[in-house]
């Protein structure tokens, strides 16, 4: 699916900053509502990073909790998926977190 092109953007974004330096670690944050599967990302990373200065780098993925706030009653609750239903029955919910799809930092040798 889309994880391959997103992984390609990751490698491009990192290379733009690290140039020739060997990258030993990559720290990502991928929320459960981002539409991206961490495992698929790991799989694609090995393929996309091959032959670049990111090859062999350790991929660490922080998976934050999804959090929503109901616009009707104000309750905050955990979101495991995109079914945005407040315990009060309202589906008018703000997503506070969980859609993160970010490269946080990289470690270079």
């Amino acid at each position: 699916m889309h994880e391959l092109s997103i992984t390609q953007s990751l490698v491009d974004a990192v290379l733009e900053r690290t140039g020739e330096r060997a990258v030993t670690g990559v720290n990502l944050r991928i929320g459960p509502l981002s539409g991206v599967l961490p495992d698929a990302m790991r799989f694609c990373f090995d393929i996309v990073s091959a032959g670049t200065s990111l090859a062999g780098a350790q991929l660490r993925i922080d998976e934050p909790q999804g959090l929503g706030r109901c616009r009707s009653c104000g309750t905050e609750f955990e979101l495991e998926d995109l079914i945005l239903l407040c315990p009060c029955g309202s589906a008018d919910v703000d997503i506070l977190s969980g859609r993160e799809l970010m490269v946080i930092s990289v470690e270079v040798a």
Partner: protein, 288 residues
Amino acid sequence: MCTTCGCGDETNTRVSTLDGIQPIVEHQHPHDHAHPHDHDHPHDHAHPHDHTHPHDHDHHPATITLEQNLLAKNDLLAARNRGWLAGRGIRALNIMSSPGAGKTTLLVRTLTDLGGHLQAGVIEGDQETSLDADRIRAVGRPVIQINTGAGCHLDADMLQRGLDALDPQPGSTVFVENVGNLVCPALFDLGETAKVVVISVTEGDDKPRKYPHMFMAADLVIVNKSDLLPYVDFDVDECLRQIREINPHADFLVLSATTGDGLAAWYAWLDGSTSRSNSLTESLSDAH
């Protein structure tokens, strides 16, 4: 190339001309077809070369902070498309569905029915072939075919190239038929004016639950092939209820692109004169 996901890189992408001529990719033709590289490639996002290059002594292990969205490049190009479209008063509608839900049938019918009342062009996205573009060209409308090769969605860069080739009139409408796929296109903002998701009744009424990203992003959901409702187990109200769980604001229409049933409401939506489908919202609250 990724065997599970099948997404190729963008060098596979081919954009046709208005005459339907496909660029030849096999033997590197020396770029005779126009490559309007006036649009800058996104080298404008921050290049903070301040603290990351310790040129005094040789490289020590270090952590470099990026804090960057992985879709940032696409989002930037999408923002550029949005500005380009707004500046010309052009409306671009991104039409998405699973393969075969009826996107091209609906477009052909719409362009035929509305004739001169709607000035419109089409950008067709498919992995291979120009079959859909040929169907649009047959009804006399300008069309560009984008073939994504192994790629399973259009992205903002492809739309930009499609718009360059289509060269739409100011004030007109551009229908963008995305690659048939309910997963990947949902994540890639094209800079479109609105996202239209089509599902057909033969696919089952559980699609919103199964593909929430797509339905969450939708401005309009069209249930197509309503003529087949008597033959399949598809509960329209249940489908709308699922959509409302993930997207309280999307408009909702039920129609048949082949019989023409319900098309008036779609044409009204295109006219910008419709709001949410009240009857269905009512039938939904009745059920509670």
